[in-house]
């Protein structure tokens, strides 16, 4: 493939650290963009095979997701919940914990926000009501993560399995809550009470972009700074990079584990809340956008870097908004976006492997 970049020479003695750093950044860039281009080519071949012009498909995706005024506004709005989810995943993955229960936590947060916000706005000023909804949405999602967190922290039970199981339970519970407990008696469709548009998060300027986007950006940047600049973040990274070193260094690993899950799930809950309070206004029964799993590849592509994650979340939004309308026009299934993203991920992993082998053989 086109990825095997001989530009970096890991074993040569560093002449100057600046040049080495520049080479390193160049290498990183090539190792990230190369596979994406290769993946676009492979996905194009698949489109050709099913009889769709890949250039037309990519053209629609770009036009609808990026270049049309309405499209870009939708894309930026879609980013808000994705950024919160990405922030939560960055915390978990950097600490070496696989919180794959994002969807359950997201939906429970969404339902909590949808149920509480219409009540709170009648009791208190709108801004306070929204803050309260955000907080209890986060709290509910945190509580939902407690079971996997305690099992992992104190019993060493694999969190991949427990979080996935909890996400099934979580999505079902969210549905039950919508249908039985928080159902709006005023409509025939099973859904929660709708938050009036004027009480939702304000839109930015004269666009349809939600101000939740700013909250999402703030969340992911704060998470990035906490993980890279603070003692707390370093402790989490030590747990993630070498759990035995964490024990050796005297860190309270079980407590940190619970904290990681709480933060990660809390951010997923906030993602649900920001989508409801900012955009949707209510939760319909059986609504599950499955953002949680879609964001995972973006976070990996960004290598758990907050700033890079913003870029990849943007890319994911463009692909999903553009993919939705391209799907309608060209008859490609909606899920082709996911196919594209997974091809990118596989090619990236291959590139990483080839690069690693290449470096090893140079060293040997």
């Amino acid at each position: 493939m086109s990825i095997d970049t001989p530009s970096v020479n890991a074993t040569a003695p560093d002449p100057t650290s600046a040049a080495a750093a520049r080479r390193d950044i160049l290498h990183r860039l090539l190792m990230t963009l190369g596979p994406i281009l290769a993946a676009l080519v492979i996905a194009g071949c698949i489109l050709l095979a099913v009889g769709v012009d890949p250039l037309a498909y990519y053209g629609y995706v770009l036009e609808k997701g990026l270049f049309s005024p309405l499209g870009i506004q939708q894309t930026l709005t879609r980013m808000a919940p994705l950024l919160f989810l990405a922030a939560g995943l960055i915390v978990a993955f950097r600490a070496g914990m696989w919180n794959l229960g994002g969807d359950g936590q997201f939906l429970l947060g969404a339902v909590t926000a949808a149920a509480s916000a219409p009540v709170f706005v009648q009791l208190m000023p709108a801004w306070l009501a929204l803050i309260c909804s955000f907080l209890i949405a986060a709290a509910v999602a945190m509580i939902w993560s407690l079971v996997p967190a305690l099992l992992r922290g104190y019993q060493g039970v694999n969190e991949i399995i427990t979080t996935l199981m909890m996400t099934f339970l979580g999505t079902s519970l969210a549905n039950v809550l919508v249908k039985l407990v928080f159902r709006d008696p005023g409509t025939t469709v099973p859904q929660t009470r709708t938050l009036p548009v004027e009480d939702r998060l304000p839109r930015l300027f004269d666009t349809t972009i939600t101000s939740g986007l700013l909250l999402g950006l703030a969340a992911i940047i704060i998470v990035h700074l906490v993980m890279t600049r603070t003692a707390f973040g370093l402790k989490l990274r030590i747990v993630g990079a070498n759990p035995r070193a964490a024990i050796h260094a005297g860190l309270g690993v079980p407590g940190l584990t619970v904290a990681v899950f709480a933060i990660s799930a809390g951010l997923a809950g906030l993602a649900g809340a920001v989508d409801i309070i900012g955009v949707q206004g209510n939760v319909r029964a059986d609504w599950n956008p499955a953002y949680g799993l879609a964001v995972i590849p973006a976070v990996f592509l960004a290598r758990m870097n907050g700033f890079a994650a913003i870029g990849f979340v943007f890319l994911l939004s463009v692909l999903s908004i553009g993919g939705e309308s391209a799907a309608r026009r060209l008859g490609v299934p909606n899920h082709f976006t996911l196919v594209l993203v997974s091809i990118v991920l596989i090619v990236l992993a291959l590139a990483e492997y080839v690069d690693h082998r290449y470096n090893q053989s140079r060293k040997a």
């Binding site: 600049r229 603070t230 990079a241 260094a249 309270g252």
Partner: protein, 531 residues
């Protein structure tokens, strides 16, 4: 000089033609790994009808030697002769084809499959397994050896001893002429060990050659015909069958003890122990009384551990590796739950405190697992200096990292401890073992240390770094700190310690003042004899 001559004679005797009865012979075989010489020009002759015992402590180079015989590793220098011909054993499959079967230390059977299925593994994939032929063959072999093997039982239902018989049987089914048993008794019950011994005797009676690796002297004397002793990668002696038969068990054991623990004339590491004055009246800095911990699946528990260390004193812990040394260090540092006993630092009990609190009070633990738990390999050198102080001022203020303070102090430590690193940002795993050890030394000996536990501080280091580390440890004691030095290298302990305690099966079996006859007394304690 004597050694050289001896090695020369050894290589003469294993030249083709000189000794035609060797199945396999090693001539001057050397194997190096980064930073260590695992085998240093080893000569060995393996003959049919003999149990050749390889004795040595952990790290003596036994496993490397077996790796080369079974085709897993290739020697850097020297030759391996099979049936008198120079042969390169390129792979485990090749070794099997040559008739060299190996039973590894850890069981290599598939527990979910039946015994017969395990025996048939590795056959040609395009053929149906020939169970009937196997049954007939196994029946013939087991009858001649006087053992019974349940062919249709699942391996997971067998005891460890039975599993081992299956592994030996597997080697026999494949027509092995040389059977290598790597630490085969380490997981067996005393009864299982006796049975294995009987089985080995029957096998050699049928003309098989056996290489039996162990570090238990009694087994060596009971089951062997010929004994070779390895020490730090070198073969330091051999007892041939003629001499073996002439001596009684006790005499053999005492000869081996001499070989294993005797002082070598040309040992470059030998240093004179500096005379330190340890005042006897001074109150002990560290007092440990009846410390106990529960055993786990793969580690012995601790029991009746009691000792104290005065300021400026080095107490050594000697013992064969895997007898609870690591558990002792972890229990003292607070990483392992204890079930009883007390640990007092300057008179205050600390056994209930956490790892961090114990460190705060001046108890430092320098781990032997430098990359596994001592450092985070992907993190820069600078952060690894402060891994145990995350969040503490002046390196963190209000939880925020003070990059300048960290780099300043790290640069200072790099200079002070002579850490050779391309930069402070270099991931610590890229450094050599010796430089990683310097990072750990700098971290543990920094301000506030009162008692320092060194666990195998020179393990795997080259000579220069070994000497530097030892100097650091002696300087630590000279500063008036109490030092607990855990090591499997007896020379090291003898050259540095004031007293040496011996650990066996998780208990301290005796403490010896490091005076004239300490070497033999510690050696005898280590192999389970009274000092």
């Amino acid at each position: 000089m004597f050694l050289r001559l001896w090695a020369f004679m050894g290589s003469l005797s294993s030249l083709p033609g000189a000794d035609t009865c060797d199945i396999v012979a090693l001539a001057g075989v050397t194997k190096r790994f980064p930073g260590i010489v695992a085998n240093d020009s080893i000569d060995l002759s393996i003959r049919p009808g003999e149990v050749h015992v390889l004795l040595g402590e952990n790290g003596a180079g036994k496993s490397t030697l077996i790796g080369m015989l079974s085709g897993l590793l290739q020697p850097d220098e020297g030759r391996i002769l099979v049936d008198g011909k120079v042969t390169q054993i390129t792979s485990p499959r090749h070794a099997l084809a040559l008739g060299i079967g190996t039973v590894f230390q850890h069981m290599m059977l598939v527990p979910a499959l039946s015994v017969a299925e395990n025996l048939l593994l590795g056959g040609p994939w395009w053929q149906r397994p020939r169970i009937e032929a196997l049954e007939a063959r196994v029946a013939k072999i087991t009858r001649s050896l006087g053992i019974t093997v349940k062919l249709h039982a699942r391996v997971s239902e067998l005891s460890l001893g039975e599993q081992q018989q299956v592994e030996i049987l597997r080697a026999m089914v494949r027509n092995s002429r040389l059977l290598i048993l790597d630490e085969s008794t380490s997981m067996l019950t005393p009864k299982g060990i006796d049975e294995l011994g009987t089985l080995m005797r029957r096998l050699v009676k049928q003309g098989l050659a056996i290489v039996f690796i162990t570090h238990k002297l009694k087994e060596a004397a009971a089951f062997g015909d010929r004994i070779s002793v390895l020490k730090l990668g070198r073969k330091v002696g051999e007892i041939p069958p003629e001499r073996f038969r002439a001596l009684g068990e006790q005499e053999i054991i005492s000869q081996i003890v001499d070989l294993m623990f005797g002082k070598q004339k040309d040992d470059p590491e030998a240093v004179e122990r500096p005379i330190r004055k340890v005042s006897v009246e001074a109150a002990p800095l560290l007092q440990v009384t009846d410390l106990a911990a529960a055993p786990t699946d793969n580690a012995p528990g601790l029991s009746s551990i009691s000792f104290d260390i005065r300021p400026g004193e080095i107490l050594g812990i000697a013992g064969i590796d895997g007898n609870g040394q690591k558990q002792l260090a972890e229990a003292l540092a607070g990483q392992r739950v204890t079930t009883g006993g007390s640990v007092r630092l300057e008179g205050t009990a600390i056994e209930m405190l956490s790892v961090g609190e114990r460190r705060q009070r001046g108890l430092r633990y320098l781990t032997d697992d430098r990359l596994g738990e001592g450092t985070v390999g992907t993190f820069p050198v600078s952060i690894n200096f402060f891994l145990k102080q995350v969040g503490a001022p002046p390196f963190w203020r209000n939880g925020f990292e003070q990059r300048a303070e960290i780099d300043k102090r790290a640069a200072q430590l790099v200079r002070e401890y002579d850490v050779r690193t391309p930069s402070l940002k270099t991931p610590v795993a890229r450094l050599s073992g010796g430089n990683i050890q310097k990072v750990l030394l700098a971290r543990e000996l920094a301000e506030g240390a009162k008692v320092v536990i060194f666990n195998k501080p020179t393990y795997g280091l080259d000579l220069a770094n070994t000497l530097a580390s030892r100097q650091r440890i002696c300087a630590t004691a000279a500063r008036g700190l109490a030092v607990l030095l855990i090591s499997t290298d007896l020379e090291e302990l003898l050259s540095m310690c004031d007293r040496i305690a011996v650990i066996a099966s998780g208990a301290l079996v005796g403490t010896v003042e490091n005076v004239d006859d300490a070497r033999t007394r510690v050696g005898r304690l280590m192999i389970g004899l009274a000092a």
